[in-house]
């Protein structure tokens, strides 16, 4: 009996290690690149630099939560980045040109982003346009709308009242934006793991047809997942707007891709139904560390673009291979 127990414990440890390596491979990869950069650049391993990385990660990571929900539901959203831009402009214009209360402005920023999410949701879930095309169209509409509203001009000095959200520090050391990011992840993980809403989204992503035949309203919850992503975009936009205290036409540019890369790197499957929201955080931080490190080492920014593309392809290749082995 004791032998069986020993074996049981061994199996448990083995199982845990296996799970760790499978689900959190990204943490191991993160550790490796941190070590590599620490040895090759003297500026990399400093508290200051880590703070910068955290600040840079906040908005993308929050947007990635939205992408994670959409991907878990078996879809994709290409409009997230441009949605950040549009909703930031809406808030900035309302606050600066129309003089509304900055806090109300931020709420309207989130509302705008959710409205765009709703449109995506209607197109994908109700009209049933392929997710890629629908959100690509909406992405272009967002870009165009942002340009029309702003005439492509940068709006700066939006409001000093809200800037502490993006720039401030709690107790003098903890960035407020990082706190917002962590809170969002805690909330999102809870929703994904512990709520019925989360179960619905996973079920639809795991096998839409089986979900339908189990009595789940596929339309309703696909729609909701897009509105949720819109809400994440809104919060991300608030953090970005308050950090820069400004909006430019390139705000949020390509965030949707960074979010996808982050999610896939973390282990959220492109085919839906598999993965954990928190993996998106690790994936985004990995990406940010990688680019920060390359910048520290003076790698040509054009080369960095190539690296970004390669990382996306590698991450997706791993995802595809992982699923292929099972079949």
């Amino acid at each position: 009996m004791s032998e069986a127990n020993v074996k049981g414990t061994e199996n448990k440890i083995y199982g845990f290690m296996k799970k760790l390596s499978k689900e959190y491979m990204i943490l191991i990869a993160l550790l490796i690149i941190v070590l590599v950069f620490s040895f090759s650049s003297k500026y990399f391993f400093t508290a200051n630099n880590f703070m910068t990385i955290l600040l840079q990660s906040a908005t993308v990571a929050i947007v990635a939560i939205g992408q994670a929900f959409i991907m878990l539901g078996g879809n994709l959203d290409l409009s997230l980045g441009q949605n950040v831009c549009l909703s930031s402009y809406v808030a900035a214009i309302l606050i600066k040109d129309f003089g509304i209360n900055p806090w109300l402005g931020l709420l309207l920023c989130i509302a705008t982003a959710m409205f765009i999410g709703l449109i995506n949701g209607i197109l994908v879930a109700i009209v049933r346009i392929p997710t890629f095309i629908a959100t690509l169209g909406v992405m272009n509409i967002c870009t165009g709308m942002a340009k029309i509203l702003s005439k492509s001009a940068t709006i700066s000095n939006v409001s000093s009242e809200i800037s502490f959200l993006g720039r401030g520090y709690l107790f003098g050391i903890v960035p407020v934006s990082a706190v917002i990011m962590i809170l969002m992840f805690v909330l999102a993980s809870f929703v994904a793991k512990k709520t019925v809403l989360g179960r619905y989204i996973y079920s639809i992503g795991g096998n839409e047809e089986a979900a339908y035949f189990s009595g789940i309203s596929v339309k309703k919850y696909t729609l909701i997942s897009y509105v949720m992503a819109g809400a994440c975009v809104g919060v991300g936009a608030v953090v970005l707007l308050s950090r820069l205290n400004a909006v430019t036409i390139s705000s949020g540019n390509a965030y949707e891709f960074d979010a996808v890369i982050g999610c896939v790197l973390g282990g959220i499957s492109l085919s839906g139904g598999k993965g954990k929201v928190v993996q998106a955080l690790f994936g985004v931080i990995f990406l940010m560390v990688l680019f920060n490190g390359m910048t520290q080492l003076n790698v040509n920014p054009f080369v960095q673009d190539v690296v970004k593309g390669a990382v996306l392809i590698i991450a997706i290749a791993i995802d595809v291979l992982r699923n292929r082995v099972k079949n």
Binding site: K194, T195, V196, L197, G198, R199, Y200, Y202, S203, G206, N207, E209, A210, A211, Y212, F213, S214, G215, I216, S217, G273, K274, K326
Partner: protein, 493 residues
Amino acid sequence: MAQTILEVRHVSKSFPGVKALDDVSFSIKEGHVHAIVGENGAGKSTLIKILAGIYTKYEGEVWISGKKEVFESPQMSKQKGISVVHQELKLSEPLSIAENIFLGKPLRTKLGLIDWKAMNRKAQEMVDELNVKLDVTLPVETLTVAQKQIVEICKSIVAECKILIMDEPSATLTNKELDVLFGIIAKLKKDGVTIIYISHRMEEVFNLSDELSVLRDGKHIGTLRTEEIDKDALVNMMVGRTVNMEYPRSEITPGEVLLKVEKLTRKGVFENISFELRKGEILGIAGLVGAGRTELMRGILGIDAVDSGDVYLRGKKVKYKDFREAIQDGFGLVPEDRKQQGSTQIFPIKSNICMTDFGRISARGIVNDRLESQYAREHVKTLRVAAPSIDTEVQYLSGGNQQKVVIAKWLYRDSEILIMDEPTRGIDVGAKREIYDLICELVKQGKTMIVISSELPEVLGISDRILVLHEGRLAGELSSEEATQEKVMNMCI
């Protein structure tokens, strides 16, 4: 005495945790129809995949016409004269029949352009010769499964195959279509093609084959001439134990009318269908594939819209706009496609079971994981699902156990009326019996069942009453006492 064309010598193949083939050796004679039988998981598919060049890593040797062959790809296997008609057909749907037949090696004119005329003519000749009425210029997507199989067979003829492997070709065919298929097989045999025929259906194996090989748990149990063995002995060889193929009966006297369907019509699909379902009854629905059986159920359940007619549940008129409304009223559906519609393959057993009702395992929108596991464990136990744990992903279970999980979904939901569409398709003999026992057991517990099945012995064996559908119309209704295979078959065609 025919010569040996194919020989497998000491072939073994392992997957993580399973030995799919274990030192299998046997030979197949030229020009014979050789059946390979065995339960699901016996290793039939693995063996075929080795012969087809899909699995390239294995122990042992494959010899063809006295020469050792090593296939590194499906192309190499094809070059050596082996063609496979897989269960999942691999045709290009939008292309025409002729294009599919000549796919990869189209006929060309002198200028090197594609010679459509010659291709269509040759394809038509080929199809005509098989005594099949088909216009080869039609796109493949307009064909039935049976007709698609014929296109696959024509492809193998173009590839000049010497050995044609057919993997459960009959699983989805109607009896009429089967006759056509058997005719084709007879003709190919006359032309000297060796046929390896994989099937679950005993009747076919005995009708068609000259010799047969039995696999069980990856081991070769025996190869013998078909005339040397009878059905019972063969089943014994397959399962290694005696299986009682008598059908269990619930012995329940049906109660009040639960469901009443009146003149339900969906134009062009089913028309004017009326029937009643009593509490505690097992109502069988027989008919050919395409007779409108699944569609009728979809119409009742609100999955598809109907044009006219009424449905009454416990005397109250209902009209479901959505399947979810039907579920709320106590209906459950075990769909015909277990993998795609019935279950989420990448999810663990417990998530599959509890998917039909999250309300039961949650409070104020928050899921109680412990409750989920508890319910899942309960149902896995009562249905005797063989699995390491409730966390095992459904994709790793055998067909029979997957089906039990799908049934468990509705028991968990406590559905009163269970509609099962082809509940034992592709399930091996032993597991079939378990599903029948389960159906009876559930009726005893107060459930009511509608069972759609293409297998006549099955639908006759388990039902209290049988509706026969033919081309969307109700061709007849028989009680289990008066129903015989012949009677039902005559109504089907």
